[in-house]
Symmetry: C2
Subunit: 128 residues, 2 copies
């Protein structure tokens, strides 16, 4: 695994940010994908503060719905995520970030991806 240590700030425009359809709680789901392998790593949530912090730092900052605070991914675990590309979908209600994953992986269990359990198979997903 590479050891990325910096991300790319994203110069999103106000018009792009205005196109986001936040849900009733002011949040949007975020899909995070590994730039090197294409593996879907996790799904988490952002509010506008988290999104703007992510853009400014070039590093994934989510909103923790359970702790109700900004969640600067990897501050505790070291498993930080550095932004490479950032997209929003056709109706603006989901974001996709392509990242360099630092450390062991995205999952708090130590797995590379949070999607390590397969229905009917128990299989672990690999890069597709």
């Amino acid at each position: 695994m590479t050891s990325p240590t910096a991300g790319a700030p994203v110069a999103a425009t106000d018009a792009e940010i205005a196109a986001i359809a936040w849900n009733g709680d002011g949040l949007v789901p975020v899909v995070t994908q590994d730039a090197a392998t294409g593996l879907v790593l996790m799904l988490a949530w952002m509010n506008e503060d988290a999104l703007r912090a992510t853009f400014a730092e070039g590093r994934m900052v989510y909103w923790s719905r359970s702790r109700r605070e900004l969640w600067r991914k990897g501050d505790t675990s070291g498993d930080r995520q550095w932004v490479r590309e950032a997209y929003y979908d056709c109706d603006g209600d989901t974001l996709l970030f392509v990242v360099d994953q630092e450390g062991r992986g995205a999952c708090h269990t130590g797995a590379p991806s949070c999607f390590f359990r397969g229905f009917g198979t128990g299989a672990t997903p690999g890069p597709v």
Copy 2:
């Protein structure tokens, strides 16, 4: 593009389905990824009926939150999605399906992926 015409039914166990953490509306977000390219195609939602239909048919069946009905993806557009692999995440509150995408692509705009707009760049995502 290949022209897949059948999917693989998924023999999920009751224990696996019981591990899913449905939200307050009885729904779970579903990330759909292209098996051939690794491209993240879309995010949509399923209730338990949609999930069981997807497993039985080997074809993606979502829950349309706007129409409040089962949404058998591609019945109108022809852009059906055939299941290849199905995963659930570490806390059971998100699903990941790897599919063969039929037709033009996943997006109602005709784009291969719904995530065709890049923040700050206008770039279209490609396979990673």
